[in-house]
Point group: C2
Chain length 206, copies 2
């Protein structure tokens, strides 16, 4: 008898947790990280207390909600690094990461967290950016990537990619693909390179 | 005696109008077009009725608030068209328009209005985009601009430029300048051009 109740409660709790995560995923993807915790609780049909019991902070909720995106992001940079042609690997990373972020506005906001109350994905970001540094070094050595490329250019591209709006997810994805190709072209060595303004760091870990 | 009162009211009304416009300018510049009309009234220290008496719709308010930006935008495309070197004129337009929009998030939102309740700047936008078409045609003929450039690429660049966030207005302007240079490089003819995904139209007049 003492067994039955906890088991039932646990099943309820698991169901609540999953419903909260599902609502958080779709809310963050469409509206970014600004969606209030209360609104996510409302959409999941649970009270704020239940939400906060499962996820004490928005960072906890977002880290869990973006598990798939974090895995996909790290897989993309690993795939790029494994490419025997570093320029091909570099292009692949820019294109696939733009496509990944084009599906999820909140993930970009978390990834480039620049504001005091944004989510800190610093470990994932640092790993991804270190891999991009390494790939960029090889692509420069191979004579394909312009020598003034810096890691924050990748952050700049992600932010810019996040500014694209369109009337449907398909149109947004198409626009993002075109944008990524233009960005890659902008990074390619050119016989007549335009000078680039130096960047102050765009990402601030908080 | 019948003279005095109307004159006083008019002075009050002018003052209110100017305060509303000043608050709308700064609110739109920082937060984009999503700032509610009531919030603008609150910041200007007037009641909603007063705000709506001066500006019946947000479109009216934004059109007035962006008078300077509209003038600057048209001056930039005219300057580009007047340049004897069409590629130089094209680069100038991309760079200066990105810089103009980097100072004012709301202006970009109005300019690329894609949503039902966004502001319709169709006349200004159409004039600017027609000038860009003409400049692009000349820059292609001169052998500098890639042949698959379309007018919506300029809209794409403006949206992307609007996605850039930074910790200060100066850092944002620097990032925007770097981004504009990369975009121009992406548009330059290349011995190894990357194919571009076709775009569905990004701007919808509403």
């Amino acid at each position: 008898m003492t067994d039955g109740l906890p088991r039932t409660m646990r099943a309820d709790a698991i169901e609540n947790r999953e419903r909260i995560l599902a609502e958080a995923c779709s809310a963050f993807a469409v509206d970014g990280l600004d969606v209030p915790m209360r609104e996510i609780a409302r959409r999941a049909g649970v009270g704020p207390a239940t939400l906060y019991r499962h996820f004490p902070t928005k960072e906890d909720l977002a880290t869990e909600a973006f598990t798939d995106e974090i895995g996909a992001c790290l897989a993309i940079v690993d795939e790029g690094l494994a490419d025997p042609d570093p320029w091909h690997g570099f292009c692949l990373v820019v294109e696939k990461i733009c496509a990944l972020h084009a599906c999820n506005r909140g993930f970009t906001a978390a990834f480039v967290s620049t504001f005091p109350d944004a989510i800190d994905f610093s470990a994932v970001r640092e790993h991804a950016l270190q891999s991009i540094d390494e790939l960029a070094r090889r692509a420069k050595d191979a004579g394909h990537l312009r020598h003034d490329f810096v890691r924050d250019d990748m952050v700049l591209v992600l932010m810019a990619n996040n500014g694209i709006v369109a009337s449907s997810p398909d149109a947004r994805m198409a626009a993002s693909r075109r944008f990524a190709a233009l960005a890659v072209q902008g990074f390619h060595v050119s016989p007549s390179p335009l000078p680039l303004t130096p960047l102050t760091p765009l990402v601030h870990s908080v």
